[in-house]
């Protein structure tokens, strides 16, 4: 499942990331790596961007970038 498609109130784990995408490469250097747990905290009023937390990090990212991250439900 893509990170851009997940619902709130669930715990997910990253399985695959497309590191060609600059934003994804950036997320990786912030510690969002395959195996990392991630949670969706908020969606902006117009649906995009979304806010996620991982490892004490609270980051906002756009859906187009989130689509490059594959996750699985825990």
């Amino acid at each position: 499942m893509q990170l851009s498609k997940i619902k709130r109130d669930g715990q997910f784990r990253v399985t695959k990331m497309n590191s060609d995408n600059e934003s994804v490469a950036r997320l990786m250097s912030l510690g969002l790596l395959p195996g990392q747990e991630v949670r969706l905290t908020h969606q902006a009023p117009l649906g995009d961007p979304i806010a996620v937390t991982f490892e004490g990090c609270h980051m906002s990212l756009r859906l187009s970038d989130a689509a490059e991250v594959e996750v699985e439900a825990l």
């Binding site: 990331m17 590191s19 060609d20 600059e22 934003s23 490469a25 950036r26 997320l27 990786m28 250097s29 912030l30 510690g31 790596l33 905290t41 908020h42 969606q43 902006a44 009023p45 117009l46 649906g47 995009d48 961007p49 806010a51 490892e55 004490g56 990090c57 609270h58 980051m59 906002s60 990212l61 756009r62 187009s64 970038d65």
Partner: protein, 728 residues
């Protein structure tokens, strides 16, 4: 290389929102802006840090970055400074890495990258108090042992830990400890070897091992642009090394993050002890439950933005009136004192005092807006505001951070453009600056009111007049949106959207000291950098409107009015007094600006303007609302008319073309009125804005935006005139 061997240099690096700027202030005492929002530290800041043993040290505050991957300008600067390739300065003697205790792992990623550059290091564990309050315990001794560099707990904004840091730095300057580095797998080592032999051994490049690591791991590394090797060759070398890495089983884009965190994570085992549930963390999350809520969050946002807008638009009013009153009082005083020397009187009254007033009058709006911006940033709300609004701006290449500057520009573009400093992406910031002058600022309102009152209301009634006024406020925004889109396409060449990853930092209680500092700094910066330019512009425009002032003008005006006087006439003074307004009008007509306006009139002829309107348009360059007093003077009503003036409205209605094909026809009609309003909605007739753009970007962009926007305004004005004149 080194000019002054006695001066030691220490660089300060750290992630955004770690309190790095606070630490910089605490160490140097030379106060700087304190950021709570990513990317405020754009400039290189240096200060003097007194180490207490007679050593004065230059402390360099590097831009806050999450990594040294050298993709953005900020990161590139950080790498260059740390490697000794910036401005002919050698590499710093030591680097202090500011680390947020709460995000140890992510922050040490940056430290680990910096270690690769072989600079001695001390780590400052900042926000120690917050961590303690949250029940987070860190074993500093153990961490120090494992990393191999001194680790000092600090609370920068309370100046705690400063002495301990000083001691650690003094020790480290002698022992030169370097943080432990990962031992790379063979594939990485071989790839680095390929780069080393090609760049250093074959091409004789001056590259450190750390820079080779950057070239290998970063897609489109900015380090390439610094090399002697021609870019295509360098890119080919890097590509083959990355290919080698890929063959060895590592994706070059992901390898560094994977390997570095794999190296760091075991080092952090048993270091962090969480004693209690993280209460503070949930408090920040709790606030976000409301402020980022899809409905209520938006309500709060609209409310807050209303307050911000009102404050700049309305609350600044009394202060601006006061400044105008004081300016007027000084002008009256000077006018009285210098009555015997009319030229000097006009220079002092209209040029000098008017010129000072011209930029001081912006200060209330700037100071008030920056109070709110400082509050929004210090609390951490600014990132949330950008989060809520981002979608609106995505399609034209901007992002949510453009919202506050553009909203502020509806009150006045000056503080709005200054507020773009909160936008970390340089291209987004540039586009926002370039479209900000199109937002309908309050200086346009008098022009709208005057013309709508004179030409729309009498014809169509107050309802249509109100609707017209409302619509005028959107003309600029309608042009701004496609313009932003076009600028994004041309400035960004092929890059559809900017990476927009933004941290939503924990909410914090703002520190009054740093808020006042930021307000003071923005005000000072405006007065020193832009104020002087606005002052100079006002003097130049004054001179163009005043000179050459032919001596026989009063006599000619008197003659035209049927009174014959000469230089020696006893009634001269009385006659000049009687016809003072007509004489002023004649002087303006004869002035350089007046002559230029008559010369330039054909340019504005397709928009329906006669030479008087043209002079008004040109003379209003210092500020848009000046057109009203200029028109007042040209129509011999004096310069004190305002948008409510009945005389001016009546004069408009009776004004006729003096010559040319339309001689005798009325100058003003609905088409001309709309054409003038549209011109003023879009043009860049604001010297202060040009000066501020020059300050924030450069003079080329300031001039480009002046001619660009004024050109767009001309096209739109001509179109509106030509269409309307055919309909009515």
């Amino acid at each position: 290389m080194r000019k002054d061997a006695d001066i030691l240099r220490i660089a300060l690096i750290g992630n955004p929102n770690t309190g790095k700027s606070s630490l910089f202030n605490a160490l140097t005492g030379l106060k700087q802006r304190v950021g709570n929002y990513s990317g405020v530290t754009v400039e290189k800041k240096t200060g003097e840090w007194n180490l207490g043993d007679g050593n004065a040290i230059e402390l360099i505050d590097l831009p806050g970055t999450y990594s040294l991957s050298a993709k953005s300008i900020d990161e590139r600067i950080a790498v260059d400074v740390l490697c000794g390739h910036a401005e002919g300065q050698p590499a710093p003697d030591l680097v202090v890495v500011v680390v947020d205790v709460e995000n140890l792992q992510r922050n040490l990623f940056l430290a680990s990258q910096a270690a690769e550059l072989n600079v001695p290091m001390v780590i400052a564990l900042n926000c120690w108090d917050v961590a303690e309050r949250k029940g987070l315990k860190i074993d500093c001794k153990l961490l120090e042992q494992r990393l191999g560099v001194p680790v000092v707990p600090t609370v920068a904004n309370r100046r705690r830990g400063v002495d301990e840091l000083r001691t650690a730095v003094l020790g480290a300057l002698k022992t030169r400890p370097v943080m432990i580095r990962p031992s790379w797998p063979d594939a990485v080592k071989e790839s680095l070897g390929l780069l080393r032999s090609a760049f250093i051994e074959k091409n004789g490049e001056n590259l450190k091992d750390g820079e080779l690591t950057r070239l290998l791991f970063d897609q489109k590394s900015a380090v390439i642009s610094r090399l002697k090797t021609p870019k295509p060759d360098a890119e080919a070398i890097v590509k083959s090394a990355r290919e080698h890495l890929r063959k060895g089983g590592y994706n070059p884009d992901a390898a560094e993050s994977l390997l570095r965190f794999r190296f760091l994570n075991p080092l952090l085992l048993d270091i962090i002890e969480r004693q209690a549930i993280l209460k503070q963390r949930s408090r920040s999350e709790g606030i976000d439950q409301l402020l980022l809520h899809r409905f209520w969050g938006l309500c709060v946002f609209v409310g807050m933005m209303y307050v911000v807008f009102q404050s700049v638009y309305t609350w600044a009013g009394p202060f601006m009136d006061l400044i105008e009153g004081v300016t007027g009082w000084f002008q009256g005083l000077a006018a009285g004192a210098l009555e015997s020397t009319p030229t000097l009187q006009s220079l002092v009254v209209d040029g000098i005092i008017g010129g000072v007033g011209a930029f001081v009058v912006f200060l209330p709006q700037i100071l008030i807006l920056f109070l709110f911006i400082a509050l929004l940033e210090e609390t951490g709300y600014m990132a949330r505001a950008a989060f809520l609004m981002d979608k609106l701006f995505q399609w034209c290449g901007l992002n949510g951070k453009s919202f506050v500057p553009l909203l502020s520009s509806y009150a006045c573009a000056i503080p709005g453009i200054m507020a773009t400093r909160t936008i970390s992406d340089p291209k987004t910031r540039m586009i926002t600056i370039l479209i900000a002058p199109l937002m309908s600022c309050s200086a346009r309102l008098p022009v709208y009111l005057l013309l709508i009152g004179a030409f729309v209301e009498p014809l169509y009634g107050p309802a249509v007049a109100g609707a017209t006024l409302f619509a005028m406020h959107f003309v600029g925004a309608l042009v701004a949106a496609p313009l932003a889109y076009l600028l994004n396409q041309t400035l960004n060449k092929g890059r559809p959207a900017q990476p927009f990853i933004m941290e939503l930092p924990h909410y914090r209680v703002p520190r009054i000291g740093s808020i006042f500092w930021r307000i003071y700094e923005s005000g000072k910066d405006f007065v020193v950098r832009a104020g002087t330019v606005i002052f100079a512009m006002t003097i130049i425009i004054w001179a163009l409107l005043y000179f050459p002032r032919p001596a026989d003008v009063p006599f000619e005006v008197a003659r035209e009015n049927g009174v014959e006087i000469t230089e020696s006439s006893t009634s001269k003074e009385a006659v000049m007094q009687q016809f003072s307004r007509e004489i002023d009008a004649a002087y303006l007509e004869q002035s350089y600006m007046g002559r230029f306006g008559q010369l330039a009139q054909p340019i504005f002829d397709p928009a329906g303007y006669d030479w008087k309107i043209t002079v008004g348009v040109l003379a209003s360059f210092p500020a848009r609302e000046v057109i009203i007093s200029t028109l007042g003077i040209t129509y011999a009503l004096g310069g004190e008319v305002d948008e409510e003036s009945k005389d001016l409205r009546d004069t408009f209605k009776s004004a006729t073309w003096e010559s040319g094909p339309r001689e005798g026809e009325p100058v003003y009609n609905l088409a001309v009125a709309l054409s003038i309003m549209v011109f003023f909605a879009l043009c860049m007739q604001c010297g202060a804005t040009v000066a501020v753009i020059a300050r924030e970007l450069n003079w080329s962009w300031a001039l480009a935006s002046f001619f660009g926007l004024t050109g767009i305004a001309w096209v739109a004005a001509v179109a509106v005139y030509q269409i309307t004149i055919r309909i009515i």
